[in-house]
């Protein structure tokens, strides 16, 4: 019953054809499922948690689950499916993981083989879905507090860096921590520590600030992913553990088969960002 009511509400909201009309996570997923949205999920269902996606065969899933448990800051799991199940009820009631993301990436032995708009034909009974929290949730809280996010001001992707900090290995999974960087004035950096501490399940507090060389970042102007942004003289770089870490670690293993989200095309859940705040 609850689901039916939600579907009806979503359909009404979706009469308009712009992304902002998908005002709930469910409305966003239905729009995507019905092939009415295939672009980035940024701007969809404001206030709802979006997640990174990793789908792995069961023979790797146990070790990957262990890896996430051992590395909660870069790999904050917000949901895991049963093997072969395309649902993840803990984060979305009406979800078909095979169709509800705008676009996917399919990998074989570490090689990108397809970028389909659904993965119905790739689905197998041994696949396990991992939904991993992303920085969208805490970035919204920072913006709400009036803190500037430089990559948004510059209208580019947050700069990300491979560090000299090793993750805690589990099975075949190991590799360096990847961090995202946001430059801030010292007072804003202190406030950002306070705010993001409230969101331990979406990367939480920064892992480092100032002194990029201490974590193996030689040139702050040359990120390994994303775009360089200016760091002014009265600012310090503030570093958060980044959801690119698990993707990078998975790719290093070159699994026979795996599926991830297409960059920017995230899983939109039914959970609200505020639900993930510990206070």
């Amino acid at each position: 019953m609850a689901m039916n009511r939600a579907v009806a509400a979503a359909t009404a909201a979706d009469l308009k054809n712009d992304p902002q009309s998908a005002q709930t996570g469910l409305a966003a997923r239905l729009k995507i499922r019905q092939n009415r949205h295939s672009g980035p999920t940024s701007g969809l269902a404001s206030g709802y948690v979006q997640a990174n996606l990793a789908i792995l065969p069961q023979n790797l899933a146990q070790d990957f689950l262990h890896f996430c448990q051992r590395n909660p800051k870069p790999c904050p799991l917000v949901g895991v499916s049963a093997a072969g199940d395309w649902r993840v009820p803990s984060i979305a009631e009406d979800l078909d993981i095979r169709t509800d993301l705008p676009r996917y990436r399919v990998w074989q032995k570490g090689e990108l083989v397809d970028e389909p708009f659904d993965i119905v034909k790739y689905w197998r009974d041994d696949l396990v879905t991992f939904a991993i929290g992303c920085s969208f949730s805490f970035e919204q809280a920072l913006l709400d507090d009036g803190i500037e996010l430089r990559h948004m001001t510059c209208d580019c992707t947050v700069p990300m860096y491979r560090t000299s900090v090793e993750t805690n290995p589990a099975g075949p999974f190991h590799g360096p921590l990847v961090v995202s960087m946001r430059p801030m004035k010292p007072a804003a950096a202190i406030r950002a520590v306070q705010i993001t501490t409230r969101f331990p399940s979406v990367h939480g507090a920064p892992v480092h600030l100032g002194k990029p060389e201490m974590i193996g970042i030689k040139d702050i102007g040359k990120p390994d992913w994303g775009d360089a942004v200016p760091v002014h003289d009265d600012e310090i770089p503030v570093f958060w553990a980044c959801g690119v870490t698990p993707q990078s670690v998975i790719m290093a293993v070159k699994p026979d088969f795996c599926i991830t989200h297409y960059p920017g095309a995230m899983l939109v859940t039914d959970r609200r960002n505020t639900e993930f705040a510990i206070m």
Copy 2:
């Protein structure tokens, strides 16, 4: 009745003659009142809040109260007395402010005129007592979390600096913010923000970190009060608002009459440090 039981307990604890025998705030105050302890209060009544003392004539007290209200980070008031009353029931049940600190400083027109062990002969009916939180409370929380405090490692006084940041004025009271500095590795600095955020009534979160020049500190090796401590290459200086601020601001006014604690000889209260944690 409650007070009588506490006095009995304190007397029993005080049979031994070392500072550590004063295990409660009341026991410490009784020991001091009975002239059995005249040195620094550090180490007395572990776990109990100690406070800075400022005693002002009523004609200045209203403006000073306003000043504290406008500057809660450097001037976190933990208790204020009625005029002429030597008690502050909100922080200590059995308290005589005239005798219960080990030593005092008496000032006339901004000049130090006496450093007595009690202020009975100086007491007046128009005097108002201000008890202002001090960093002892949050330092204990940092130590409990395994964070090194350099000035303790060096067995010296925390370095303090006059900044270029102005306090918010009230009446005749105005002047620069004074900060204390503790060098920390970045990860410890982030943790220290989290820990001290929990203690807003004893200075709370840092006001600044890194980049001392941004708050007008030209040479970190030359503090205005306390002792210089080494800041290593893998550390950043972390700055907290300091209880020397109100003392410095009062002295600048050169009040006809005022009394403060002798450095290191604080008011020991009945409140526990943990009571001041907001979570």
